[in-house]
């Protein structure tokens, strides 16, 4: 019962993420998701009374990284780039909400045709993880700001982790730690990149990062001249 409540809250967080424009709010929502991800395996283990110290340690590390460190890095990048809102997303907020509903429907329909009952203990875990992954991908595609795209990647990765928890897949300690470390380093580098993009272009709209490519009218030599002027 307790785990079901966690999954439902997780789903609600996904839907809220898709409809909020304030970046700080979004960062807090993702932090909350990180906290829930830390709690989920613990809740399972306590209910089945097979809690091991290594599991508790892993949950602690995961909560520290996902609910404390990552949000801090992101909000610092946000302050340094001086953006607060995603004002004109590529897909508006009402469209996003509709897309969210479509994703929910799609995930539940898809999961009905899978033979899951022999693998997972919670009927909700797989649909929720699929919805979370789709939410993350949607955020990456439908938002302009580089920071929101970084958030989208985190949500996507959260979805994958929820899938692993729901299917009770146990990786070795080193692998779990490595995944967390990778995500942490990725967000760190993305934060630095956002800062540089903001300084170079005075915006962090990734849809305007479109100078490279084979179809652009700009010749390579023009670009180097511009660089020299700067």
């Amino acid at each position: 019962m307790f785990s079901e409540i966690l999954y439902v809250i997780f789903l609600a967080l996904d839907l809220t993420l898709l409809s909020s424009s304030r970046l700080l709010h979004c960062i807090r929502l993702v932090a909350l998701q990180g906290l829930l991800i830390g709690l989920m395996p613990l809740a399972d283990a306590v209910l089945r009374s097979e809690l091991r110290p290594s599991m508790a340690l892993m949950a602690m590390v995961s909560i520290v990284v996902k609910a404390v460190l990552l949000p801090r890095l992101l909000s610092r990048a946000m302050r340094r780039a001086q953006v607060n809102r995603e004002l004109e997303p590529l897909a508006g907020y009402s469209v996003s909400t509709l897309a969210a509903l479509a994703m929910v429907a799609l995930s539940f329909v898809m999961v009905r045709s899978l033979p899951l009952s022999e693998y997972t203990t919670h009927p909700l875990s797989v649909p929720v993880s699929l919805i979370t992954m789709l939410t993350g991908l949607f955020l990456i595609i439908a938002r302009r700001k580089a920071l929101t795209q970084a958030l989208g990647f985190l949500v996507f990765e959260n979805g994958i982790t929820v899938f692993g928890i729901g299917m009770t897949l146990e990786n070795s300690f080193i692998v779990e730690l490595g995944i967390l470390l990778d995500v942490l380093a990725l967000v760190f580098i993305m934060g630095i990149a956002v800062f540089h993009i903001n300084r170079e272009f005075a915006h962090i709209d990734t849809d305007r990062l479109n100078h490279l490519g084979d179809w652009s009218a700009q010749e390579p030599e023009l670009k180097t001249e511009q660089d020299e002027e700067e």
Binding site: M167, E170, L186, I189, E200, L212, D214, E219
Partner: protein
Amino acid sequence: MMTLALILAPLAAALLAWRDTRGRLAVRLWLPLAAVLHLAGSLWLLASRGDVAAARLDDLLGLDMTSAILLTVTSTLFLCVSLHTQLWLPAEQAKARRDGHGGLLQSHRVFVPCLLLFLSTMTLVISARNFGLLWVAVEATTLASAPLILFHRSGSSLEAMWKYLLICSVGIGLALFGTMLMAVSATGLEHGGLSLSLLAEHRAQLHPGWFKAAFILILVGYGTKMGLAPFHTWLPDAHSEAPGVVSALLSGALLNCSLLGIWRFLSICPDGLLPFCRQLLVALGLLSLAVAVFFIIHQPDYKRMLAYSSVEHMGLAAILCGIGRWDVALLHLCGHSLIKMSLFLLAGNVLLAYGTRAIRSIGGIFGRLPRTALLWLVGVLLICGTPPSPLFVSEWLLLTSAPLWLTCLVFLMLFGVFAGMSLACLKLCLGEDGEARPAAEDVCGAERAAAVPAAALGVALLGGAYLTWCLLSGQPIPGVN
């Protein structure tokens, strides 16, 4: 044990280079020292036929023969790059100081440690014997190499770096989902887990439905990193914006590691699914070839042309995996790495001299950079598979062992690539002078830095000549069954 040392040694050197604030020792000492030690270690492992016999079944690290060969290639490439850096970096810095934007170059304290970290993470990819660890390592290579693209801090390199980070991370994220699905397909096993040796032993018992889904996601994920079309979009941008030494590593070493990831999954594929997985690989390989031909013909930018040529060769390697000739694919990867590295280093020298990547505004480099031009011609001929190139042998084996329709298609596209590349190469080497006016010091520096590519191309030529001789005289070709 030795494998672990090979991962940790570059890490230690990275730390030392980062601590070195004045930046003299970082480039002159720590970078080549780590490269030499790494090469010595991997040669030792290659000579002792890998590290895997001693490893227990559920070990995380270990080297079989395939990975020992790839490790040696990576290591050799890194040594070449670190030697080339000794010649290229001072010239580049002098140029930046003269032009008055010396502050725009990345500092030693980021550049050298990131290079060393990149080597360490690639070693981890090659030696990982656990699919979870493999994923961690592949993502870590993205993270270590992304800052390197930002060597010239311009807007376009920022754009390339952001695309690289985001597209590759999302792609590799899909691969993580695929890895999880594969763990689900293995839940029926007694031990479970993601260990390569265990899964290879019990591969007949993997659940085929889950494995199919897993393989598709893995192919998309690691295929993104490997530059298979249609997931290659980050590759031309990143490879053309990065400095020559970094593009050489990205193209010559990193793409191999990603293909190794895909091959690891293919090697535990249950027999019933093997035709499906192979067809998928052949289809993506053909698409990559087609995309590469399309963009190489009339390509105005010589570094982008090289990047698309990497897409082409990864497509060929994927086709070779798809028709079940992994041994030839390995040969192809080794040849491609060596030649493509030399070409990217030479391209870096041309960029250093002329300051532009547009073929039209350079015109002909033969008058000013005769050595570079000659090497460039040789390199382009070798990369197109002109005999006696090692790629000629592997492409010949591909054409003779594939079904007829595949042979015809591949042959047609190889011809297209050859036409496009040789046209661009002739224009670049022998054309009329364009509007770019290089400074005499830069030309001098670029000509001086031609030593390493010359040596690498010489080795490729000799090796290729030996392989071609083996092919013609009917001797067994080394490494090919």
